[in-house]
Symmetry: C2
Subunit: 471 residues, 2 copies
């Protein structure tokens, strides 16, 4: 492990954090960084640095890090760009192990002075082996240690889980975070790479592959300077953890914008897509799909194949699911004879007893529904179950009863579900089912099917067919 | 107007409703129908009918409708299928104006006795001109009169608005209703057609085109017996109100399932799609897209053309939007010179000042953002604005300030937005902006772009280019 990697480990798990540019003024980012650290519940020491204040956020502040007696593991820097070279020099002298550089105004600005400044500060830290996340980033969060080293305290509303998000855009990171709050997707780390002074996708992949808290790595990318270095980094760890990516730049306008925004090369979308797929990276086409798929990887086994059983509490959502299944390459299999016989015993002679199965007639009857799930789970044609249940006043108790069965039952195959109710009605039951590892839930049949299809697709782009990410 | 149409008007706006099969037993659908009527706030008279109880839900109950002295405008029927012929005969004798037949067990079951029963009850009511919604339906809701004539009281959680939902599936109706609660999409009516005894899509289109509460008609369809009758009904009202449709059956499995489930012909998806488009019906590919598009039609003008300005608070979501715009046929236009000059005055010399515009540098500055919106709104190349803003702790006040501008500003062109924050944080501001008609908001850039693209596509499939649905 090289020095950057060793220091990354320290900076993600620091005992002492300095905020250089800390502030009590809510108009300053240094205020929000302090708020993130304190409200996020970080248990280590926090040292605000600001020459203008003896106390910030109720903590003793220091004019510079040199005035702070103890060592500093992580420095979060929010001073104006022109002050960064001086601050970096002090960080090197102090032996700081890692830096989050939130400050903008480097390679991303039109003025060539920005690029010059970028080179200058890189020169200061690189020879010391100090990893820098940023510049031009919102920061990073390590949910395992409640370290919110970002200017957005609200990231701490997210729950701890197995998804690592690495992103080149603050906006997309915030979008994904806020969607994840609604979807109850859970994170190990969120890392805003910004302009990638010396910590690029390749370095982060190396780090996260060894991170025991992370089960799946989701990336948002606009453009990178050294795509082969990134691809080699992923290939090196092939089959250890799923790497999934959403990359903008498929349109001419966004490609141009990426070039400007991140100060890096963008380039032909199709070339990226092909190269990434060959490296075993799953290529996705939207932020929502990236999050949905990460959630599936974090909580579900990867199905052995594309054979799906569609079990729905009402016929319509089952049909909607079938359409998307077929479009996504999943197969609505025929059941084995004994499975079909079993279903026919549970359901009256209505038409939809073959796949898709409309369990509507067993609407009030959780034991019939449980029996159907059990039979289908044992069918060798079936690789995964799609379970689609809409709330109605008359079936309000169904999910609780079904939940008792599903959480006790040893699932041999993934259950991906769309179980939906008015806000607040089945939220606890769904959370319980997800936390028990009984299923992974989505708010629409389409999202459920696409997430499942992406699990199957991931297997197909791996060389080694058996991969297990479930913890 | 024929008798069915006249009676439809009465049954959607009844003064006296009988629930035939009303119950105090929560295991019966007759319980939930009573709950819907009472908890939904229906202000007319409710007459529970059940030979076994003198009082139901605290109201005097009658053995049969013949025992009820007053007239009955609407009868909601939830008795077992075999009792329906007798009940229908009584309804004819009583002069009931319309029936919601929730009972299942007709054409949709395997047993040919179901189809026979269907024909039998049709014979009873058809000559009397009594419209029947159902059988095999959850019911219908008229939000204008707080009439929840369904077995799902929770539909009354939805707010009154301009979208009419007509659906062949209870499951999809519930799915759409629960998604609409989260999306704050608002309804005039929700109608579950079920097996369509004598009220089919064509009759409902005729009715809703004259319904002053309805601004846009969204349909979920599995299959119909007389597609040309439906198409002619829509064509007859061409350009009066948008009709948008989501139809399952693109896959072999769902096509078969539709045939079984609804007791009707399904058939080639592409043929439907082509014929519907020719009739000016917008064809959509998912429940989410149907709802998102309905919400746009209900609250936005239809843009004059495909020219879009992408204004984002952070660069990433703007790029994501550009990719989807290009894929959906929208055009990221070049601004007129004076627009560009104005933007350049508001923003520092960062790269993303052309379209897409990254308003990040004006992050704390609502007046700069307002100025940019105003300039772009006046640009003759621009037909609509996409506004994408992610919350961050430091910009918490931005939306309130921007909101003051946007609600006071007379928008000449639609603003479709993706403004997103942690749950609860900007909800009030977004609702306020939507209620003021300032914008239509979605939780992802993709959804915002697709909804806008569907407005533009709708115009392109109309013969007459000017259509105004905004109330």
């Amino acid at each position: 492990m090289n020095l950057i990697q060793t220091n990354l480990e320290t900076m993600f798990n620091p005992e002492i954090v300095a905020v250089i540019g800390a502030s009590d003024n809510s108009g300053k980012l240094g205020f929000h960084v302090m708020k993130s650290l304190i409200n996020g519940g970080f248990s280590g020491k926090i040292s605000p640095i600001n020459p203008g204040s003896p106390e910030i956020w109720g903590l003793k502040a220091y004019p510079s890090i040199n005035d702070y007696a103890d060592r500093i593991d992580l420095a979060i820097v929010v001073v104006p760009a022109k002050l960064v070279p001086g601050v970096f020099t002090e960080c090197v002298e102090k032996g700081v192990k890692g830096i989050v550089l939130i400050t903008a105004g480097f390679k991303e600005i039109d003025d060539p002075a920005g690029a010059d400044l970028h080179e200058k500060i890189a020169g200061i830290v690189n020879h010391a082996g100090i990893p820098v996340i940023g510049p031009n980033t919102f920061g990073m969060i390590n949910f395992n240690t409640n370290l919110n080293a970002s200017f957005t305290p609200e990231f701490s509303l997210l729950k701890k889980g197995k998804i690592a998000l690495v992103s080149q855009s603050g906006g997309i990171s915030h979008l994904l975070g806020f969607l994840a709050m609604r979807a109850d997707a859970r994170f190990s780390k969120i890392i805003g790479l910004g302009n990638r002074l010396n910590v690029d996708f390749a370095e982060i992949i190396d780090y996260l592959m060894d991170d025991s808290e992370t089960g799946v790595i989701m990336l948002y990318m606009e453009g990178i300077n050294h795509p082969m270095r990134f691809i080699e980094a992923v290939k090196k760890h092939r089959n250890r953890k799923p790497v999934i990516i959403y990359k903008t730049g498929s349109s001419e306008k966004s490609d141009q914008a990426a070039k400007s925004h991140t100060g890096s090369m963008a380039g032909k979308h199709e070339i990226y897509q092909g190269a990434f797929s060959q490296a075993g990276i799953l290529f996705l086409d939207s932020a929502e799909s990236l999050l949905d798929t990460a959630k599936a990887f974090a909580s579900s086994e990867i199905p052995e194949g594309p054979g799906v059983a569609v079990l729905s509490g009402q016929a319509g959502p089952g049909m909607a699911a079938c359409d998307v299944c077929e479009a996504c390459g999943l197969k609505i299999v025929s059941f084995e004879r004994r499975t079909q016989q079993s279903i026919n015993e549970y359901l009256p002679p209505l038409a939809l007893r073959t796949n898709p199965v409309d369990m509507g007639p067993a609407w009030y009857n959780a034991s019939a529904q449980s029996g159907i799930v059990r039979s289908v789970m044992n069918d060798s044609n079936v690789d995964a179950i799609l379970l689609l249940i809409m709330f109605a006043s008359a079936n309000v108790n169904l999910l609780r009863e079904l939940s008792d069965f599903l959480t006790a039952f040893k699932q041999s195959k993934p259950i991906i579900s769309c179980i939906l109710a008015p806000p607040g009605v089945w939220d606890d039951e769904i959370r319980h089912l997800e936390e028990a590892g009984a299923l992974v839930n989505y708010p629409t049949p389409e999202q459920a099917v696409r997430a499942l299809a992406n699990l199957v697709k991931y297997r197909s782009i791996q060389f080694c067919p058996k991969t297990n990410t479930k913890g």
